[in-house]
Symmetry: C3
Subunit: 321 residues, 3 copies
């Protein structure tokens, strides 16, 4: 593995999941692999789970870790070429990325979308420039359009908890107070569509009209606007809010009942409930579910470590070649 | 030891002090004990001494350390149950604590009191919820009502520097420009009262009328409002400001002379002077004392490492069982 | 080596450069030297390259590292003596430095100048007080008047890339939008003047009238105000902005063409171009140079690791004595 940005960076999904689960069983068996290797974790936006789980995974592999909170400790980066830098940006991504590549063997980068400039966001301008100029492998810690460590985590969690060979997985839109990126649902859909292709799951997306994701992320999925219909016979329900892709970054007045509750859960096949966290209790997902036996959200967050660890392990292995 | 929150988490005070001093003599003799164990240090408020000394102690025990500045890098936590989270809090402590527990073998938590809601502060609402939901041992890095790593440090420092078997220790209120929590004086009193019970010290508290601490913390102490009286024959003077407990968080116009000076020190038995730091020079404690031979404040701060290390060592040992 | 503050802390410049280059060839051959030693990196101002390169260097030497962002995580320090601390400063440098010295075997300190109080800045008041009170060796991570890790890096980079025994090196002033300190040009001049004395380079400084550096930093250098004249036959051009020393912290209306471009580079002996970064593209230095074959800026930044590593190695060696 050279970079980790999307599902396209993994071939056999079940294989990578099994490798992650073997790391979960023996987390410290690869302490020598990362020796004398440095991971730099670069954040242009806040992070809790991603930073901790990736840092932990790297330390368990024997790596040294440096965290770089550009949003707090650093300064504003210029991303445009051909600009005379006489304004507020202090350093160009060309230099900043290249320099961080000098100090680290692998870099992780988190950069949220603007939710204003659809083209810049969906061409992954910042992420791609960073990859181009840093000169070392880059792991996405969530980019404008994807959150692949989360999606790999989700597949690991589904694999661990499934009771049938090919469980029915539903991505269910939920309400929120803020306009959120599409990165998590895009990425989850992309991974579930590929998992469906590889015979691992059966995948449905449910959202109100107007919240259609960009088509390339949902190819092969069943897409419905009737949540109750989607939930029938579901084995896993993945709850998540997102803002509109087509009417970019917009949020519409809420119509219908999209809060996930035990009453809705009764329509499913005793489904396990997932969420990437942080979750707004009783707005996106009811407390009764979160505090009940069907919630996987904490175990899911715990699995972030093994997703990060298998990705770092694979990149370290290709560095050795 | 499972958690470290108050003096009740230690049985024999002299034993824990002696163990700390043996770590001071051989800091790196337990590097194997913490191997493949991760300490997460969670700060809801700023920290200098506590973070550095605890991080250093953990590294000396071979642990990996992750620092989590929730107040700067993170987001606002919801602590109330039954709230629809459609406001400014981003994540509930139920999820946040549980997730951090997934990534760490031991957690440290710093959370100051509001100084507005006495009941919430003195029931240690946040700290207790964090312990309840995180699922791993928790070390207090100062909570609303106590600062036990500081108090253990203080007992270590007194033990190192005492010239008689049962020295006279005085906690002396001092002026300040801000309304400060009662956590440090509560905790110091609690530890000294227990130390008095175990025959290790003789303990007096001196403060202006109105600054009485909550009774449970001072049981057995001699309490006076005449500083000069308290200082007579003192072997150790512990200088500290705090705001009113009864008239919660209030500060009264200063009456009398409570700044500790060499002139006041002349009343004592050549007492050593202590302070938890940071100290306001010439407001709480005179420069002449801080720069003179009787000040222990820097050595005291240095001893924070051994308090943290003995606590982490004992928790690591109980994890192994 | 006890402290690292200026060129005076090194005797034989070529020897320290060769030692740095041997560390570059074998970065991990001294992992045992720093075992059980802790480096504290204290920042009163932001840092990217300095923090990462010094942290990396220390980890490669086997040290534990603690980063202390006093400007973000800490609090305002009092530096004046004889002040009643009833204002906004929370802790005196006397205590803060001493306490950090208790937790660390070596400290690094970054503190920028005020650019307002020339005397305080040029007597290095803060840095010197920190050294005086912390009680352990201190490495400058850039002080009010010098940036010695950068200057040592620059000499390493010149040594690596020189084609003649005694290359011509030009420090060329460049425009900027902000008033910047003189620390980098002071320090570069100081090191190059000493390198000139030791027969390693031939050194010229070019700047508009009014930007004269303090004389002690440029003793022995050729100083001109005609950039084209300076560039003739140059082997290395070091581009950097700074504000006025004599009219302290002032910036004058720009006269003449001081942006470094390929056209200007044509006057040189195919000179390599250096800059300490961050650089304002097309204001200080043209994009065509930065993206072209003559730029050394990224390799130069990479060399920061070996400058830090040789300095830490030498200090660790003197600690062992």
């Amino acid at each position: 593995m050279e970079n980790f940005f999307s599902v396209a960076d993994v071939d056999d999904l079940d294989q990578v999941v099994q490798e992650a689960l073997s790391l979960k069983a023996n987390p410290y068996s690869w302490r020598e692999l990362g020796k004398n290797k440095t991971l730099g974790l670069v954040f242009l936006n806040p992070s809790l789970r991603t930073r901790l789980s990736t840092q932990k995974a790297a330390m368990s592999l024997g790596m040294d870790v440096m965290v770089i909170n550009m949003d707090k400790e650093g300064w504003a980066l210029e991303t445009q070429d051909g600009v005379i830098m006489n304004g507020t940006t202090v350093e160009h991504v060309r230099e900043a990325a290249a320099v961080m590549g000098e100090y680290c063997d692998i870099l992780g980068l988190r950069s949220f979308p603007s939710l204003k400039d659809k083209v810049a966001d969906y061409t992954e301008e910042l992420f791609n420039k960073f990859v181009k100029f840093c000169g070392v492998p880059v792991v996405s810690l969530e980019s404008a359009t994807r959150h692949p460590l989360q999606s790999l985590t989700d597949l690991i969690t589904i694999t661990e908890h499934k009771k049938v060979a090919r469980p029915k997985v539903v991505l269910a839109w939920a309400p929120h107070v803020k306009a959120l990126p599409q990165a998590v649902p895009n990425s989850f859909s992309e991974w579930m569509c590929e998992a469906q292709k590889q015979g691992l799951v059966d995948f449905t997306v449910a959202h109100p009209t107007g919240y259609e994701l960009k088509e390339e992320f949902t190819t092969g999925a069943r897409i419905v606007s009737d949540l109750d219909d989607a939930l029938a016979e579901a084995d896993f329900v993945y709850v998540k809010n997102w803002s509109s892709y087509h009417d970019y970054g917009q949020v519409y007045p809420l119509e219908g009942d999209w809060l996930m509750t035990n009453k809705k859960l009764a329509l499913t096949n005793d489904a396990r409930v997932m969420h990437c966290l942080p979750v707004r209790r009783d707005l996106e997902l009811s407390s009764e579910i979160l505090d009940g036996p069907n919630s996987l959200v904490v175990k899911e967050a715990g699995n972030r470590v093994w997703a990060a660890q298998v990705v770092l392990k694979r990149i370290l292995e290709s560095l050795k070649k």
